[in-house]
């Protein structure tokens, strides 16, 4: 397995000098994201997110299983992240790097532990049958800020996903195909997003949003804040690195809220566009008794 590439001394020095004179290599402002592109697939729950050159594919799926013994009334919800060698030869399948462990842990904390998905609504027959919702996050290309992009992709795929409709009659569970009954969306409570700040300078006085791969390689610390558009913070992860002033962290959080509101609006808009695109024809049109004359 080749080692992860490291930027040269010249590049490291240059990035720091540029940041100290208020410049970024791609001409962005410090609190500006790269253009975020979202596209949905033909199937429900497939979404591709591009953040500059970072590219992530997320797919949600559901199957019927037996619930955990200690939680008979809850469904199961898992997030599987994979950094494939396609993103960088330094990533190997089945041997998680630190990046991958941190990524899956942060997604877990942001989306699962914050109760974004109502797992109780996934229960079909108490203690016997429940839905297992699974999101697979594939990193296709890595140019920094994986966490924010992966979190956006996870939330987008879950909100786009539709699970098959079910009914229970006389203790018999029926799962309907999409042709029989329109699939139903998941019970969704709130949409948390991650915003990652990278810190530079001796005391972490320079804070930058959406760092690229090169910028990530020279940062002295980072802080990931997860919150929803109502300003409810799900988690703050500041894992090691240079200590940062509490006051500047507060400022980071308030800017993060602005960004999250933008994310939320963008996702709502894209979901509405996709719903409109799908609405043409469909089961409703098929069932209508009107004839074209």
């Amino acid at each position: 397995m080749p080692r992860e590439a490291e930027p040269s001394l010249n590049e490291k020095q240059f990035v720091i000098q540029a940041l100290q004179s208020n410049l970024r290599l791609d001409g962005r402002k410090f609190d500006q994201y790269r253009p975020l592109e979202v596209s949905f697939g033909e199937q429900y729950g497939v979404v591709e997110v591009k953040l500059g050159k970072t590219r992530i594919l997320a797919k949600a799926s559901a199957e019927v299983t037996v619930p955990y013994v200690d939680r008979p009334l809850d469904g199961i919800f898992t997030i599987a992240t994979e950094l494939s060698p396609m993103a960088s030869p330094a990533f190997e399948v089945n041997r998680p790097t630190e990046t991958e462990v941190l990524l899956s842990r942060l997604l877990e904390k942001t989306v699962r532990r914050s109760g974004a998905l109502d797992t109780e609504s996934l229960c079909l027959v108490a203690g016997q049958k429940c839905w297992h919702v699974r999101v697979d996050v594939h990193i296709l290309s890595h140019d920094g800020d994986l966490i924010d992009a992966a979190c956006f992709a996870t939330v987008a795929s879950l909100r786009h996903f539709r699970k098959p409709d079910t009914s229970i009659e006389n203790g018999v569970l029926t799962v309907y195909t999409p042709a029989e009954r329109e699939p139903v969306p998941l019970g969704w409570l709130h949409s948390p997003f991650c915003v990652t700040w990278s810190f530079y300078g001796d005391e972490g006085e320079i804070a930058v949003l959406d760092a690229t791969w090169l910028e990530e390689a020279v940062r002295v610390g980072s802080c990931t804040i997860s919150l929803n558009r109502h300003g409810e913070i799900c988690q703050i992860a500041k894992l090691g690195g240079t200590p940062v002033e509490a006051l500047s962290l507060l400022q980071c959080t308030s800017i993060a809220l602005v960004r999250v509101k933008e994310f939320s609006a963008l996702l709502d808009k894209k979901l509405a566009e996709d719903a409109k695109r799908r609405d043409r024809g469909g089961l409703l049109a098929e069932l209508s008794a009107e004839n074209d004359r």
């Binding site: 080749p2 590439a5 490291e6 930027p7 040269s8 001394l9 010249n10 590049e11 490291k12 020095q13 240059f14 990035v15 000098q17 540029a18 004179s21 410049l23 290599l25 791609d26 001409g27 960088s88 030869p89 330094a90």
Partner: protein, 258 residues
């Protein structure tokens, strides 16, 4: 003379009328025997079984009738060292007390740069290069199954000729195709790239070193200038800009950076 450049895909069959044939008078004269041999450049392969010439990479097929050579002009891929190329490498570490391991492209095996392959270097005065430092070097040895060897000095004259450690500045990654075009003696006419000239015309002062392995080193007193050069190069590369578009893009970039 090259005329039009048809686009070919790997495995395509090449129109036989494009393959240059030796002219009648050339074939008869003795001294042009060398020119009668068809020379295949990168991206083409001669299939021994059928005798056909097949492209192995997508790109534009270039035919030079005068030199009786043809090759496929493609944007890049991974750098494979060949003798005589000037490259920008990143020092990994010093090993064995007499050589540096130098990386030419990420995730590939290292090239070797002997300590004595610098101008004025002797056993007592060795160059000191920290891991991560950049060097501008020439490939002196390249075999398919061996690590390439580099040198920062001309073996004939013992002079550096501009090669050696690159101090300060920064390095930008570009495609191999653009690096090759930038290195052409007449890059504006042949390579259709004049972005660095336009940046200079706008009054920016900077110096560059171009590595055939897709790296461009830029140094300037002003950080803004270095960023402008890097962005202009990467924009030219990603959007495949023509010379006119390059001029417009540089104008726009300078205006937006102010």
């Amino acid at each position: 003379m090259e005329t039009e450049r048809p686009f070919v895909l790997p495995g395509d069959s090449i129109d036989p009328s494009l393959i240059p044939v030796p002219r009648q008078q050339d074939a008869q004269t003795q001294n042009s025997k060398k020119q009668a041999v068809l020379r295949l450049g990168p991206g083409l392969r001669h299939m021994a079984a059928t005798g056909a010439i097949v492209p192995t990479v997508p790109g534009q097929l270039v035919v030079d009738g005068r030199k009786r050579s043809m090759w496929v002009e493609s944007k890049g891929g991974r750098y494979v060292a060949s003798v005589g190329d000037v490259v920008i490498g990143q020092v990994q570490r010093s090993a064995g007390g007499d050589l540096f391991y130098v990386n030419l492209s990420p995730y590939t095996s290292n090239a070797i740069l002997p300590h004595l392959a610098f101008e004025g270097a002797s056993k007592k005065t060795r160059p000191q290069l920290a891991p991560g430092a950049l060097v501008y070097a020439r490939v002196s040895l390249a075999n398919r199954h061996m690590d390439p060897e580099l040198e920062c000095v001309s073996p004939a004259t013992g002079k550096a000729d501009g090669l050696g450690p690159l101090v300060g500045g920064t390095v930008f990654d570009v495609s191999l195709g653009l690096a090759r075009r930038l290195l052409m003696a007449r890059s504006r006419e042949e390579g259709q790239v004049a972005v660095l000239d336009f940046l200079g015309d706008e009054g920016l002062a900077f110096e560059t070193a171009i590595g055939r392995n897709g790296k461009v080193w830029v140094r300037s007193d002003s950080i803004k200038t270095m960023i402008a050069v890097g962005r202009a190069l990467q924009k030219t590369d990603e959007d495949d800009l023509s010379v006119d578009d390059q001029r417009k893009m540089v104008k726009w970039l300078i205006k937006s950076m102010r």
